[in-house]
């Protein structure tokens, strides 16, 4: 296993700060970093600026320039009026679809994965590690190879094309990384606690709900961040496993912006894009370091 300890990354750099602030080395260093940051910020800036302009100004002006006249009309139109095919009720439909897809998917996948991780650490049974290894290797297999068999499974269960089918798919594909996350976290909880609870007569679920769950709230938050952004940003599963009426926001956004008919309204497109990106962005900026911890824990400890 890659020996990356995120906790040491979190404590920041060690040692004394450099003394002189304006040495040539520092000017170079900060210069490069600032230029890089400008490249990273540019698309966000362009998105916000374009979405606040009227169409005449978009056609006349410079995409990097701030709007002369600020208008929120593109936002209103993107939310409530933009058309996909025959439906002209805007992105709000996709937004609510995404909400009702994301909420149960997140709850279900975290519930399953946390119990899994707990069973894998404290209640090992014959073969449990083999299933776990398959699960981890499975997470590297391209989704494309499992797309059609899942269509058949969902059809047999009568869930193909429904929201619950998609919820199930998200729970299945979220399982490897979340199980890994919880398993690694639970393994750091002292075993004596578990033993003491066993002596006191607590069973599988008793220990899970009264000891493991309350002791591992931080990792639940990390899992929550990971799943909310991951499921919100999904495109492929949304296209494959739902009907157009249930398309999540990303799919609807793509259909609005890349539709061939009609005059292109770039300001509305950018407002729509920004609206779709808003949920993960808010999660990201609110969660701060936990987000970093989540992706690093999920990705690196494999």
């Amino acid at each position: 296993m890659a020996d990356l300890s995120m906790s040491s990354a979190m404590t920041g750099p060690r040692g004394a700060r450099p003394k002189r602030a304006l040495s040539p080395r520092n000017i170079m260093l900060y210069g490069i970093l600032i230029v890089v940051c400008l490249y990273y910020l540019l698309p966000l800036w362009v998105m916000v600026m374009t979405s606040l302009k009227g169409m005449p100004e978009v056609r006349m002006g410079n995409i990097f320039a701030p709007p002369v006249e600020i208008t929120f009309q593109p936002w209103v139109k993107a939310w409530a009026e933009a058309c996909t095919g025959l439906n002209c009720d805007g992105l709000s439909r996709g937004f609510w679809n995404s909400v009702i897809i994301t909420v149960p998917s997140v709850i279900l996948s975290i519930a399953i994965a946390s119990v899994n991780g707990y069973a894998l650490i404290n209640w090992k049974f014959k073969g449990s590690d083999i299933f776990f290894t398959i699960l981890i290797f499975g997470s590297f297999i391209p989704y494309q190879i499992m797309l059609y068999p899942i269509v058949i499974l969902l059809r047999e269960m009568g869930l193909y094309g429904s929201l619950w089918g998609l919820v199930l798919v998200h729970s299945v594909f979220g399982m490897p990384i979340l199980t890994l996350l919880f398993r690694n976290y639970f393994s750091s909880i002292p075993e004596e606690l578990f033993k003491a609870a066993r002596v006191d007569g607590a069973g599988f679920w008793g220990i899970y709900f009264r000891i493991m769950l309350p002791m591992s709230l931080p990792i639940f938050v990390v899992a929550l961040i990971l799943q909310v952004t991951g499921i919100w940003n999904d495109f492929l599963f949304g296209v494959v496993y739902t009907k157009p009426a249930y398309y999540p926001m990303t799919v609807q956004l793509n259909n609005i912006v890349n539709s061939v008919q009609g005059v292109k309204e770039y300001n509305v497109n950018m407002a729509a894009t920004l609206l779709t990106g808003l949920v993960p962005l808010v999660v990201y900026f609110v969660s701060g370091k936990l987000f970093v911890r989540g992706i690093a824990a999920g990705a690196v400890k494999g």
Partner: protein
């Protein structure tokens, strides 16, 4: 890990009465049913199912009429598939080289005991929270020939300036790369930074005492020490690249000119769900699986080979 195993078996021994083997630890087994079902039915079962059906002539519906390697022969004679593979190789190599080198260099810069480290990191990582669809659409707009970078530079008076990567089959992959790198480099930087912070401070002290220049310490000492981090990063980035789909859908829909920016994942989707030629889709996805195994098996060998698994 070994101690946990022993302890676990010990725990099972604390049962009051001896019971039948399978009812022992029954709650844990029931709780693990979703995991077992996912591992066996979806991951193993689904993969085997697709591989098996890739040897049939399934069209609209899957059916077991064997045609041997016909689907594969057809696949490898399709111009579109060959372009897809070529594009993926080019994009993959470029993307790996750039994300890893840029990610490492940025991590080194971030590791110089700088001020505002959190601000810099927040800015570099935020694109990673966005979906490929959002990423693709923003960059499509910035690269728009009429209003984007090209238009702005032309308006400033340089009328012959040309920068329109997305509408030229020769350069469309560079356009995708600009967006892909924007989205993913911050993540690689974070992994590398964590790797750099994991290196013992004493190594740096020793290098300083010996008078080795900083850059040389990085190249000769730090990079070799970070080998596991590099390997893990490569595997994660590579397995993401093979799945590349949403970004292409959002930015170019596989165009310009029909298939200049096609990728294998798109081929699979189109044949399975649009062209209703399941056999081709299965064969193409089996090839994708093969390419992942080529990356995965050497990695698993390096990571787990030698020492006992688990």
């Amino acid at each position: 890990m070994a101690s946990t195993t022993e302890a676990a078996t010990g725990r099972q021994g604390t049962e009051a009465r001896p019971r039948a083997r399978w009812t022992r630890n029954i709650s844990a087994k029931i709780a693990a049913i979703p995991m077992i079902a996912t591992a066996l039915v979806v991951f193993v079962g689904g993969t085997i199912w697709t591989v098996v059906y890739s040897f049939t002539d399934s069209k609209l519906l899957p059916r077991l009429r064997w045609v041997g390697f016909d689907q594969y022969e057809r696949l490898w004679s399709q111009n579109r598939w060959l372009i897809s593979i070529e594009n993926l190789m080019f994009y993959g190599v470029m993307s790996l080289v750039f994300t890893v080198t840029m990610g490492f260099i940025l991590a080194v810069l971030m590791d110089q005991k700088i001020r505002f480290e959190d601000t810099f990191r927040t800015i570099m990582l935020y694109p990673f929270a966005l979906s490929f669809i959002v990423t693709g659409l923003v960059w499509q707009w910035i690269l728009n020939p009429q209003f984007g970078i090209q238009g702005v530079v032309r308006d400033m008076g340089w009328t012959s300036f040309s920068f329109d990567p997305l509408n030229n089959p020769q350069t469309v992959l560079y356009g995708l790369l600009i967006a892909g790198l924007w989205q993913g480099t911050g993540f690689v930087m974070c992994l590398m930074l964590a790797g750099l912070r994991g290196i013992d401070e004493d190594i740096w002290k020793a290098a300083r005492v010996d008078g080795i220049p900083t850059w040389k310490t990085y190249v000769m000492v730090i990079i070799p020490m970070m080998r596991p981090v590099f390997i893990t990063t490569l595997v994660i980035v590579a397995s993401g690249i093979i799945r590349l789909y949403d970004l292409v859908v959002a930015m170019t829909s596989g165009g310009p000119g029909g298939n200049a920016s096609q990728v294998p994942a798109m081929y699979v989707y189109d044949y399975m769900f649009q062209a209703q030629n399941l056999g081709q889709g299965f064969a193409a996805s089996t090839m994708m699986l093969l390419s992942v195994l080529i990356v995965l098996i050497p990695w698993a060998y390096l990571e787990f080979g030698g020492k006992k698994h688990g």
